[in-house]
Symmetry: C2
Amino acid sequence: MDYTARERDADFLMNDVFDVQKSWAEIEAYQELSSDLIKAVVAEGGRLASEIMAPLNEVGDAHGCELKDGEVITPPGFKDAFAQLTQGGWLGLSGNPAFGGQGMPKSVAGLIEEMFWAANSSLFLYGSLTVGACLSIDAHGSAEQKNTYLEKLYSGQWTGAMALTESHAGTDLGMMRTKAEPQADGSYNITGTKIFITSGEHDMAENIVHLTLARIVDGPKGTKGISLFIVPKFLPNEDGSLGPRNGWASGSLEHKMGINGSATSVINYDGAKGFLLGEEHQGLGAMFTMMNYERLSVGLQGLGAGDLAYQHSARYAQDRIQGRSATGAQNPDAEADSLLVHPDVRRMLLTQRAYVDGCRAFAFFAGMQLDAAKHKGDEQADRFGQLLTPVVKAFLTDKGLEGAVMAQQILGGHGYVKEWGVEQIVRDARIAQIYEGANGIQALDLAGRKVVRDGGKTLAELLDVLAEFEIDPEHEPQVAQAFARLLRASQSMVARSNEDANLPGAVSADFLDLMGMTLCAWAWGVMAHQAGDDDFGLAKKQTARFFFARLLPRTLGLEQSILASSDVLMDMPEALFNA
Amino acid sequence: MDYTARERDADFLMNDVFDVQKSWAEIEAYQELSSDLIKAVVAEGGRLASEIMAPLNEVGDAHGCELKDGEVITPPGFKDAFAQLTQGGWLGLSGNPAFGGQGMPKSVAGLIEEMFWAANSSLFLYGSLTVGACLSIDAHGSAEQKNTYLEKLYSGQWTGAMALTESHAGTDLGMMRTKAEPQADGSYNITGTKIFITSGEHDMAENIVHLTLARIVDGPKGTKGISLFIVPKFLPNEDGSLGPRNGWASGSLEHKMGINGSATSVINYDGAKGFLLGEEHQGLGAMFTMMNYERLSVGLQGLGAGDLAYQHSARYAQDRIQGRSATGAQNPDAEADSLLVHPDVRRMLLTQRAYVDGCRAFAFFAGMQLDAAKHKGDEQADRFGQLLTPVVKAFLTDKGLEGAVMAQQILGGHGYVKEWGVEQIVRDARIAQIYEGANGIQALDLAGRKVVRDGGKTLAELLDVLAEFEIDPEHEPQVAQAFARLLRASQSMVARSNEDANLPGAVSADFLDLMGMTLCAWAWGVMAHQAGDDDFGLAKKQTARFFFARLLPRTLGLEQSILASSDVLMDMPEALFNA
């Protein structure tokens, strides 16, 4: 499936919009990052995405994965393409240099991850889970564990997976039944069944390292009794070579709506040997190191899907001739005008583009906060990163699906048949709203933990910091109004939550949506100001005008909806939902 | 897939909300329709839907259709189920009694069609296209054509299909290339290739009657040169028995995102014999008799999908235990509370339900307008029907997808795997926004032809008629505000369209959405007023409160967006969409 990496947009964000060199100058670890180096890295990532990964996107969907004699066979070509991804060091892009990582900023890595997701989300999942596993091991592992695992994971010689979900316990991890029995040698025997395990078993690496949540026998009930274990497919020998096969296997593959090239396994642990990662009973915290990274990255999956869909539908709209302009034939020599003469087709394309570009900008800003928190110990940046992460995850994936559905609509019947590829983007994009914490959980995290808990303080600080950016004068009043609206909504939510424990959850989805729209408004205000007068800049300015005139008005309704009481939800007796 | 037909809702709409007996008393053809008869018909339709059609819904998706030696094989069980559908006379439910139809009102037929769509949209497509073909033949056919075709189609002995689309010409029918050559015997030889032909070829009826659009050679260019032809698979003998096979065949089956049980063919006409239906070069008008019917019905397909998805997710939410209520354990003896304690899960369920019930109500009202237009020659009702049809088609199918996606979200990971069935509803529902006139075309039809063309007169009349219904006092101000908002938006659109030919298309999608929301608001105001104090009535009143507090606010943004100039769309140079 054709995909063009957005190198120019990456450059625009780094240099014109956010002036990253200025921020990086204050960070020791980034001293050697020149513009030229970054440009070359982005270009090479884009090439890999468009030339190696994208051509396999439809193949992965059509072939899917197969479980044969306990082994999972990935789609044709995946193994070679993954080898190119790993040999280029891409899995260790933002990894710890002490173990062979490249130490790149998360913000830059995010630009490249977006390209990988766009090009082939199923294929990149094998890498993404590995990157996440490295983060957990780097943060919580012993020196020995880091030595044993990190370098092999960064290099893709081994890959990672996270094993949380059980069939009766999805979001509610406290109900988990997988158990861990302490052994005399300090390891644990893990027994239980996990479902929905992405990259849990496959044929693209010599070893697969599960980070598995389980309950140590006789440990506390609920989430407080859960620990995290490293449970590799093959037990490493002391010299790092592969020892005996461990006691787990893929029992079956899930049959999914999409991301068919990604192998999603049911994993049966039958007394598998596991090694405690971090402290006993502190597994959720250790797992969330991985989850938070994944959440940001999964947001970028939504972004990538949205851009891939945009690119397809924009090309189609230009090439396809149908009907005539309402103002008279624009292309009188042809049988019809292009789809681009129709205002409603333009509306759909500009909607897609406005969200893709706006979201990319604020996701990049979120990445910069994570970088500053990690390398400068910047406490405020840390809070900003935590506040922005659920918005990036949920808003970008919601808009990713919305954009893919719009692209499909532009193609009409061709959008519904497999031949043209766009229906696959819809099916693939849909998962990103569900996994790594469903979007409703993101919204509750934002409303409850990130806003109500500190009385809206961090949000207000964030808006102050954002207001320091130069906004295009044409859009300054609209951005100011959007900020004021979000602030009013947050204050109302905070005030009413004191007396109504259900209030944050009742308004959370609309609140997250409002915050995403406000961040887009800010991003467009800043981008319009920095855009030049070439085609690239004109497209940005015009898209900004569209966003403010046609999309931002949605926030009027969101604010009003947030003012509603939780009673309109909670007063309905349970039995009546099925009456 | 389990599905419960909404008999109680049908009864509520017919008797409490719209008092159909009063309207029917004025229509000669409906004199014999007693409440008891209608109730029995609805109950039997519901039984057929839930007991015969619904159990085959997943089978149809999993097996799909197969083309073998030129014959299309439908999924296991489809043939028997379709036989029960046809033997019960369901295809002729609102058909002309002179040829064996049941003569039921379109409004009532719509309630039952919703059930059939919900239970198994792929299976019902074989019937729906037949019903549409009958309408065209009944309206435009010669006495001989009616005698030859109608009875056999109503009875399902033969089925119908409509053949419009060609690969280069989707919405733009004027570009059509399929040609018709007049023959000495008065028939025409049809040659060309059509794509996306639903029920174009299958194994469930002894004959398949295509209504095919083609251009008579040397006829005028563009849409004015298109004629409609009856092109049966087997040419009927004079006694009605089957004669020789006609010269068309299914060249291949389309591979689609969903509705896999419905056979969608590429049809090659190789000098097939066709019989002119209606006048030469008047094919589009004759086809639109069928299209308009289909448009209303396809709206009901969206409604059915939305309700099916609602039912699944509501059951799941009640059965599934996850987490605890924010106000403390509601079910302390169990490991966790049901999903229904979580406000955001309730928000999703109530959103689904509010659209399903609200849309059902105004679609029923639209059906009543078609009935009054047909049987009383009521000119105003005819205009109302034409005004409402695009809204029913587009708004109901948009909300159908939205509801199905929400249902999937409630199921989390289980919503993404095939096992639980909900992802199929999403894939199946998606087509309804695309076929029978893509929703963008519906919006343009509404904004341009139905509102701007008569200066908003019919819309204003409609709002006056709707205002005569008794609205629940709790919601009266909100309904009045919604009416005022729609009126303002229409006046602005009408006024600006005089000087800007692109304006209707620029704001059409938001205008249709605003009109759908306003009709829902009206429906909820009326339903809340008529609802009793039993569980059914309480659920209605509570859902109404939710709708007004949480969904209607969307209209604030829609109005503002409609006020934008078309420049924000049209000023973007074409080349920049792909820059």
